[in-house]
C-alpha cells in the first residue's frame, strides 16, 4: 500500500498502538503482544525494513524505533556514537555467556563500525592539507546542527505520546479535542549519545478546513528534515488520509534530496 522506494527516502513508518490491535491482545505480564495480536501484527507489517511496530503507551519496542529513525536519517553520520541496544539483553544466560566469550576472542572488533577518524585518514591520502582542513571544518560545523526529525501522522495516532515516551518530554496530550495545533520543536539528548531535533507537527485528517490551514506548515518543515517519522495506528483500517498525505510527503522529500536549511 505505501509503495515508496526502499532506503532512498528518508521516511520511516511507525505502527503505533499495537497493544490495541485486537481486543485483549496484550499480555500485561510480559508487556508484549499476545499470540493472536502477534499474528495480526505480522499481517500488517509485510515490508518491515522502514516500518517499525511499537506501542508508545506501553513503552514497547521503543529502542528498535529510535534505532530505525537514526539509521534512515539523512545525517546519520552525526550520530555515529549511537550504540544500538544489546540484542542479547533478554536472551537466556547461556546465550549471553557465549556471546561474551566470542566477543572477548576478537577483542570486540566485530561490533565496531569504521569511525570518522578512519575516514579522514583515508581522505588525507588524496587531499591536500588545506583541503582536508576545510573538510574537517565543514564537518565540525555540520555536526553542530543536530539531525532534524519530523514526527508526523493523522490526528490522535499518538505523535506527541510517542515523543513523550521516547524522550520523557512531558508534552501535553489530549483524548478528545485536538492536542497539537502548532509545530513544537525541541532538541533531545539521546541516552546513547548524540542529539536529535524533534518537530511535533499538528496531525492531519481533523477536518477539511483545518487540513488546508496546516498544509503550508507541513510544506515548510518537511523538506528541511533529516527524517520524517510517519506514525499510523495499528488498530485502525482507514488509511486513505495517510495514503494521500504520504504521497505529498514523498513528493516534497524527493524534491529536496538533501535537507533544505
Amino acid at each position: 500500500m505505501f509503495g515508496f522506494e526502499k532506503s532512498t527516502l528518508r521516511i520511516v513508518v511507525g505502527l503505533n498502538q499495537v497493544d490495541k490491535i485486537v481486543p485483549n491482545g496484550w499480555d500485561m505480564r510480559l508487556n508484549a503482544p499476545s499470540k493472536a495480536a502477534e499474528k495480526e501484527i505480522e499481517r500488517r507489517c509485510i515490508e518491515p525494513s522502514q516500518v517499525e511496530f511499537y506501542s508508545a503507551l506501553k513503552r514497547y519496542r521503543l529502542i528498535p524505533l529510535i534505532s530505525t529513525v537514526t539509521r534512515y536519517a539523512f545525517a546519520g553520520f552525526k550520530l555515529d556514537n549511537v550504540e544500538p541496544a544489546d540484542p542479547f539483553e533478554l536472551a537466556d544466560k547461556d546465550v549471553q555467556e557465549f556471546v561474551a566469550q566470542q566477543l572477548s576472542k576478537d577483542g570486540g572488533k566485530s561490533l565496531k563500525s569504521p569511525t570518522k577518524d578512519h575516514l579522514f585518514e583515508e581522505m588525507s591520502k588524496y587531499l591536500s592539507r588545506d583541503e582536508l582542513n576545510l573538510v574537517r571544518k565543514k564537518f565540525a560545523q555540520e555536526k553542530q546542527i543536530p539531525p532534524k526529525v519530523a514526527v508526523f501522522g493523522k490526528t490522535g495516532v499518538g505523535k506527541t505520546t510517542t515523543i513523550n515516551s521516547l524522550f520523557n518530554a512531558n508534552w501535553k496530550t489530549s483524548h478528545t479535542v485536538v492536542g497539537t495545533t502548532d509545530a513544537q520543536i525541541k532538541e533531545f539528548e539521546l541516552q546513547s549519545g548524540g542529539t536529535l531535533e524533534i518537530i511535533d507537527l499538528p496531525g492531519y485528517g481533523v477536518s477539511l478546513s483545518k487540513d488546508r490551514g496546516y498544509e503550508k506548515l507541513y510544506q515548510e518543515h518537511i523538506p528541511s528534515c533529516d527524517l520524517v517519522l510517519l506514525i499510523i495506528q495499528a488498530n485502525s483500517r482507514d488509511f486513505s488520509d495517510d495514503q494521500e498525505m504520504l504521497g505529498k510527503v514523498v513528493e516534497w522529500v524527493k524534491k529536496a534530496p538533501t535537507p533544505v536549511r
Binding site: 481533523v206 477536518s207 482507514d238
Partner: protein
Amino acid sequence: MRDNFVCVFFGKTGAGKSSTLNKLFSLDLATDNAVACTKIAQEVLLPNSEYLNSFTQQVTIVDMPGIGESLDADEQYLPFYETWIKQAHCLVWVTQADTRAYKRDQIFLEKLLHLFPKDLYFIIALNKIDCLGVDEGEQGFNLDTQSPSIAQYQQIPEKIDDVYEIFKEVIGTRVIFRKDNIIPYTACYGWNLNNLKLNIFTRS
C-alpha cells in the same frame, strides 16, 4: 404510509457498521478487526413482526462497505453509495468516538450530499464510547455496569460538540441536523444501543 422503510448504514471502515447492525438486529454479518470485510452493499429485510408499525410495511437495512479503506476502494464503492443513498429514508452515519480524525467523513459527506433526499432523516451513530481515552489513573469503561466511567461521561458532551461542528460545516442546511441527532453508544457492550434503535424508528 410507506410500504418500505430503507435505512442505510454508512461510515468509515472499522467504525463498526456491521458490528452495530449485528447487535441491533441480531444479525450475523461478517466482522474483522484488521481487514475490511464488507465489500458490497448488503441488504437485510427485517422480519415484519418485530419492527412493523402503523406506518411501515417493511424495513430494509443496508450495510455499506466502509469508506477510507484506500483511495482505490473508495472510488470502486462509489456506485453502491449513489444507488442506495438516493433511496434512503434514514441514513445512519456511523463514526467512532475514539478518534479525532473526521476529514474523510467530511470528504464523503460533501461528495454525497447532493444525493440526499430532502426529507432524509440523518443520524450520527457515535460508536466506541467505551474506547474514549482517559488520563492515567482515571477509570475506563465500567465493565460491571456496562456503562461509561465518570471520566468518560464528562467527555461525551465535548465530543458531541466537536463532531457536530465538523459535520455541520459540510451539511449546512441541506437536511435537518441537530446535536440530538448524534447518538453516543457502544456496539461492543451495548450501552445506549437501544436509544439508537429508538431514534432510527421514531421517524419510520
